[in-house]
Subunit: 187 residues, 3 copies
């Protein structure tokens, strides 16, 4: 009965395929285990992910302070009011608020001028400026305008009597806030 060997011996001389098969099974189990590990890691990460509390992407806004011209800058009775950024996500370039996103904007102009002024709000080449202030010393004027990428908002001041040298403004602010975020924004 030579052909019958104890199990181990059988295995030892088992025909190659069964050894291959066991090796294959081992590899398959290892792969399965790794795959499972990957899944479990993902599940753990995401099941403990903090409940995503909806945070607003910042809404386009800016607060600028109205500056007064230094004497050498102001020559006539009509000039562009210098703006300086105080707060917000938007930017000021060459005394203009740069519009990056399309949409409706609420613009609020406030301030106490030392003399009666008229202010027109410019925002687009070829478009009539908007007369946001008419012959007044105290400004609290709001306007809603449809603006878009490439528009630039700046203020042109006209003073009747004396030239701009005598003009000063106290607590002068221009605030610009996008009202309907979600439109096109330049990258």
């Amino acid at each position: 009965m030579e052909g019958v060997r104890p199990l181990e011996e059988n295995v030892g001389n088992a025909p190659r395929p069964r050894f291959e098969r066991n090796k294959l099974l081992l590899v398959a189990s290892v792969v399965q285990a790794l795959g499972l590990l990957l899944c479990l890691t993902y599940v753990c990460q995401h099941s403990h992910a903090p409940e995503v509390s909806l945070q607003y992407p910042p809404i386009e806004n800016i607060m600028t302070q109205l500056q007064i011209l230094t004497s050498h800058e102001c020559e006539e009775d009509s000039f562009i009011l210098p703006l300086q950024k105080r707060d917000g996500t938007m930017e000021v370039q060459n005394n203009s608020v740069v519009i990056q996103c399309d949409g409706f904007y609420l613009l609020s102009l406030k301030g106490y001028f030392s003399q009666e002024v008229s202010i027109s709000l410019h925002y687009r080449k070829g478009e009539e400026p908007f007369p946001i202030l008419k012959k007044t010393k105290f400004a609290n004027s709001n306007v809603v305008l449809k603006l878009g990428y490439k528009d630039k908002v700046y203020l042109n001041v006209t003073t009747d009597s004396a030239s701009c040298k005598q003009l000063s403004v106290n607590a002068g602010e221009l605030i610009v806030i996008l009202q309907n975020p979600g439109g096109y924004c330049a990258p």
Copy 2:
């Protein structure tokens, strides 16, 4: 020692359960592999899912242009100003802006009228209209109102002197924007 057979032979005549068990194991492994495949596909899909950048659902808004009555439409000194939709997510029906969502709305009326006008803003049956403009030719008037589903916003114009035939408006706009989205919206 007739009862002892080489391994293969043993397997061949192995009692039925072991064959069943192996078949069962095979099925179990296949099911496990498929399950794992499903998980891995899900993990791959979602781990490469683009970082969800929070996008705003569109905010209720509309821009309408103020039209002028054709002569046969205007008979007296007080009439409803025709509105035409220019932009936005809301709608105009019968010269009225239809309100679908509850909330606070910012309404902005702008324009240059050919004669002094007074404009009252109507929005709900039985409610006093709001006097948004009083005897003026230039309009830049804003108001915040609490509106709700079924309200309809329209403008009633009153002209003192001549009747509506002589009235014209330039760059006339009514813009309506929801200020606190998230309230009830009609389906």
Copy 3:
């Protein structure tokens, strides 16, 4: 050939490690199966999760009604207008709207007063109040202010002629709405 036993017998007396190995394999498979079950449950839950439709977290807002002083409360020509909350997410304390979140706010004051009044809007100790209304009976005045946590908005009324006892207001409302949510909010 005493050493050779039928397979089952071999197994019975198999050296301890093979029995351990099978037990180990069994445990591993069970663990794998459980892990897989966990993954599949997670996948099922999340693949059927309703498409999260982006909802707006509520925007800070409030509508208050302007009340009139009872005779014993009003002594001089300048007093604080009592406010009563009508709607919104913010609160009124001691006739003041309490600001919890930093940001730009649109404040809208409306109403018909029985006599000419001037109203100044106070919001921060040491800060000049804002003259939101000047000698008028009809109010529809809006202002955009940058407010922050700990600010408190209240209205101070000045009447010229008679004292506050004769003053009444109809449809008087102060609405306050945050324009750029996403800033710091007190817990």
